[in-house]
């Protein structure tokens, strides 16, 4: 029961965290920035609106937002939040989770290609490209976790004493893993330096350009889905950053929220101090995460027999 409440709370609070990034970027830009509840206002506004559909589109265009939102929500069901047990958990669930994210991507791309827009095609091609490298890195990280825990299950890594166990078993290489996960977070969620969600030029966008033609509640679903997806990765990093159990549920939740907020702040700072990379440099950046995870795994072979 409490896991389901946590799941609902995560969905409700995810838009708030995303607003933190905007606030940080505004601070660096010397601006006041939008209110912290901006994303809720936007979602409510979008849900109230109607939609305009392109003549070129088919049912896939309408299916895209549903699937991408629904996969993000499903994925959160398997995520241990603040060390609590997830709603559902089984052996190999993390493979299902990664492939569900792939399913969401498939439909986002298909919905973009549905509009016959060359810009959206361009975004779609990039959206198909970078996650290939991300997935390789992600599975490399899973190999690392498997070496230590002998499990392929999210709750074995991030619930209860699991995370603290990871640090005890392989503290130093785990720092590599945290950095690798952060790079994956930036890539999978279309943040700077891979993609710039705030750019004004469609040619240089990845994710934003793919959803240009979506409007109203459809767009709200896409936004909600991407907030949840960002929360998913941030929660993992936050749990790795603070793996301890204080013994009191309230404290655990509070600290978790604080640390997660910090992850978003770091994303905001990264976006403010780094310019986006040229498109052909992005693969190298993403492959860095693979290399880090690979080295971390190699290190475990020496020290953890």
């Amino acid at each position: 029961m409490e896991s389901i409440l946590l799941w609902l709370a995560a969905i409700l609070i995810a838009p708030f965290f995303s607003a933190l990034i905007l606030k940080v970027k505004a601070f660096f830009g010397g601006k006041k920035g939008p209110p912290l509840l901006i994303n809720y206002y936007t979602l409510i506004k979008l849900f109230k609106k109607g939609s305009v559909y392109s003549n070129s589109t088919t049912f896939v265009f309408k299916l895209g937002p549903i699937v991408s939102c629904c996969t993000a929500l499903t994925v959160l069901l398997f995520l241990p939040i603040a060390g609590f047990d997830p709603v559902f958990s089984f052996k190999g669930d993390v493979i299902l989770v990664l492939y569900l994210l792939g399913l969401g991507r498939f439909f986002t791309i298909a919905a973009a290609m549905d509009t016959a827009s060359p810009f959206e095609g361009m975004g779609a091609a990039r959206e198909a490209y970078f996650p290939i490298l991300c997935e390789a890195a992600m599975f490399m990280i899973l190999i690392f976790f498997y070496r230590i825990t002998g499990m392929v299950q999210l709750s074995a890594f991030f619930a209860g004493a699991g995370t603290a166990g990871l640090w005890q078993a392989a503290g130093a290489p785990l720092i590599f893993i945290v950095i690798a996960l952060f790079i994956i977070l930036l890539t999978e969620n279309s943040r700077v330096p891979v993609d710039d969600p705030a750019t004004h030029l469609e040619l240089t966008m990845i994710h934003e350009v793919m959803v240009l033609d979506h409007s109203g509640p459809d767009f709200a679903l896409i936004e909600l889905g991407s907030f949840c997806k960002l929360f998913f990765y941030s929660a993992i990093i936050s749990r790795l950053a603070f793996p301890f159990d204080t013994g009191i549920a309230g404290y655990n939740l509070g600290i978790f929220a604080l640390v997660t907020g910090c992850v978003y702040l770091v994303v905001g700072v990264t976006e403010s101090v780094i310019a986006r990379y040229r498109m052909d440099k992005v693969p190298q950046f993403v492959l860095t995460s693979f290399a880090l995870a690979f080295f971390a795994t190699i290190i475990t072979m020496e020290f953890i027999k």
Partner: protein, 652 residues
């Protein structure tokens, strides 16, 4: 076994009657379709029954008192028979409307004749119990499929593809002869049973020789060169049969020889795994580079053969290291992928066939927007694409899931098994991502957007049997994906006859894993309905406007501005560098009044180029020198034969 033979005979009768009744075109086609599909259905049911009941059977026929034909059915044969009969059943039904008005009456009848021979010979290959029956069935299979490839013999492309296929299948069979010959030389019998007692070195040599032979049939990189030529040349239901099950006979051969030899050296497992990884990654990368819809599917078959071999390699490594759970997971995943690939690849070829039938072109850059005029075909094609990309809740995910878990078991070990598991996992992840890119490309360019040329404007999707077959296969993708338990059990039955010690293998985790997959699919579907419901609520009573696509401020868009297939895949292919070379031809725009220019790009197959340069050209040069032997004088030819016999007498 008698059920099996009756089913095969029924299939053969279909082809024969079709040929006899050539005079009446519709009757000839109908009788072919009815008997082939009836025989396949019969065979499907009987092989499924014998798989579930664990029934085994042997039948032996003596021929001229010289050879004995032995046919034997065990779990492995029954599993492959299921895949073969399933694809042939659906392909036969599909062909009824596909062959409608396609070519001459005799051509159609010949197509059904060779189709029935191909179906029957594939069934015999996977049940063959000794070398003689195996090689003869194998040869009939290669020849009948050769005649099917050159169905459009008027076109030069088809003839070339057919010739290439002919040469490749015969070079491949030479390796099989070498492997089997070595086996015969050591054991002194045509039977398979004594093979397990051979010395380890011979075993490995036999395995490698037959692996090359079987690999060239299965399309393992770099012996795949014939495949992207032959599959597109054949009519689409034949492409479905060839890709869906004929190339799997190569996989069957690898499994069978592995079982017979009882190999335990890790080297064999690594060989299979490396072949699988190379075929998987390069297969899908080349698929991504293609703009011909059927060529793309052909390369994607190479990729899936790669995935099957990765599973097999993981399983073999598991056996070699004595980790029975890893072995069972890897083998079961690979085995299940055989069935899954048969289902979704034939679905995709049938979808491509529908597109080809109605638009007359295979080039995706000439198509676009077909989803609007071909709703059922398009939807079925999307389902097939999701399945082949390994996405839940469809069947491709299930088999990859098991291969992943098997590989993770290897990662927990040390040494070779660790490296094998690591490579398998990472390459499966990369293959999955590339397959997603590949199939979003084909859907996005061919089925979505706006028609790029007149070929794709105002098309229909008439042809009830074609639609029926595709819908049935799409449903099968979903059913296996959501309820994999029964199918996994069948795969495990087949794995059981691989000579593993099944008593060692804990079967409880398998039941748990399949129920988890079902559970995960249900969670997803429930949330999907929930979100769709919220969306429907949000749109209740709202105005929905129709308008043009937002052109980012540009007001005069044309269909030519849409993204093309080559631009979609361009940046991803750059990652592969010289392994997947893209040849571009684009005269630059020059002068104040520039001439009309064009852009052409194509992905050249490295294996084909190298093979041409290093093998084909030297061989041709050598044979050119020997031309004088071929003078056309019959007397001297008879002299050659006599001379050869006399020389051979010295050795006997």
């Amino acid at each position: 076994m008698s059920q099996f033979f009756l089913a095969v005979i029924t299939i053969l009768c279909g082809g024969l009657f079709s040929l006899v009744l050539t005079g009446n075109k519709t009757l000839s086609r109908s009788i072919g379709v009815i008997l082939i599909s009836a025989g396949s259905l019969w065979g499907l049911l009987s092989s499924a029954t014998s798989l579930m009941t664990g029934g085994e059977g042997v039948a032996a026929f003596s021929f001229l008192n010289v050879f004995e034909f032995v046919f034997r059915m065990d779990g492995l044969s029954a599993f492959f028979l299921m895949a073969i009969f399933l694809v042939c059943l659906v392909a036969a039904i599909y062909s009824y409307h596909y062959m409608d008005g396609h070519g001459s009456a005799l051509g159609t009848a010949a197509n059904y004749f060779f189709f029935s021979v191909l179906a029957a010979s594939m069934a015999l290959v996977v049940t063959a119990g000794n070398m003689i029956s195996f090689l003869i069935s194998w040869e009939i299979m290669s020849l009948s499929s050769f005649f099917l490839v050159i169905y459009n013999y008027q076109s030069e492309e088809s003839r070339k593809a057919g010739f290439m296929y002919f040469v490749f299948s015969h070079v491949g069979v030479v390796f099989l002869f070498a492997g089997f010959g070595l086996m015969y030389g050591v054991t002194g019998t045509f039977g398979f049973d004594a093979a397990g007692a051979m010395p380890e070195g011979i075993k490995l040599a036999v395995f490698i020789l037959t692996f090359i032979g079987f690999g060239s049939k299965a399309g393992v990189f770099p012996f795949h060169v014939w495949l992207p030529h032959a599959h597109p040349a054949a009519p689409s239901h034949i492409s479905a049969v060839m890709s869906g099950c004929m190339i799997k006979t190569g996989i069957y051969g690898i499994f069978r020889v592995y079982t017979l030899l009882g190999l335990t050296t890790p080297a064999a497992g690594y060989l299979v795994l490396i072949a699988g990884i190379v075929s998987g990654i390069l297969g899908v990368a080349y698929a991504l580079g293609q703009n011909d819809i059927k060529r793309m599917l052909a390369y994607s078959s190479i990729e899936n053969i790669g995935i099957i071999l990765i599973g097999t390699g993981v399983g073999m490594t598991g056996v070699a290291t004595g980790n029975s759970l890893m072995a069972a997971l890897g083998f079961a995943g690979g085995m299940l992928h055989v069935l899954n690939h048969a289902v979704f690849k034939s679905l995709l070829f049938m979808g491509a066939g529908m597109v080809l039938h109605k638009t007359g072109t295979r080039s995706i850059d000439a198509l676009g927007g077909l989803l609007k005029s071909m709703k059922i075909t398009g939807t079925a094609f999307i389902v097939g694409s999701l399945a082949i990309s390994g996405l839940p809740p469809f069947n491709g995910f299930v088999s990859e899931f098991f291969i992943y878990l098997g590989s993770f078991n290897g990662v927990g070990l040390s040494g070779g098994a660790l490296v094998a598991g690591l490579c398998a996992i990472v390459s499966l992840a990369v293959i999955g991502g590339l397959a997603l890119a590949c199939f979003t490309k084909i859907i996005g360019i061919a089925f979505q957007g706006e028609p790029r040329t007149d070929a794709a404007v105002d098309k229909n999707e008439k042809g009830a049997t074609m639609l029926l077959s595709m819908v049935a296969l799409a449903l099968a993708c979903a059913v296996i994906g959501i309820f994999p338990a029964a199918f996994l059990n069948m795969a495990l039955m087949a794995v059981g006859s691989l000579g593993l010690n099944m008593a060692d293998i804990p079967l409880a985790p398998f039941g748990e894993l399949t129920s988890n997959i079902t559970f995960g699919a249900f969670i997803f579907l429930v949330l999907f309905i929930l979100v769709a419901g919220i969306r429907a609520l949000a749109y209740r009573g709202k105005p929905l406007a129709k308008s043009g696509t937002w052109g980012c401020g540009f007001t005069q868009p044309t269909v030519k501005m849409q993204y093309t297939g080559a631009s979609y895949s361009g940046s991803i292919l750059e990652l592969f560098g010289p392994a997947v070379p893209v040849a571009e031809d684009h005269p630059p725009i020059q002068g104040r009044f520039p001439e009309k220019t064009y852009y052409k790009s194509q992905v050249n197959d490295v294996a084909e180029e190298q093979m041409n340069r290093r093998v084909v050209n030297p061989v041709l040069f050598f044979f050119d020198r020997l031309r004088w032997i071929q003078h056309g004088d019959t007397h001297l030819y008879i002299g050659y034969i006599l001379l050869a016999i006399v020389l051979l007498l010295f050795f006997v």
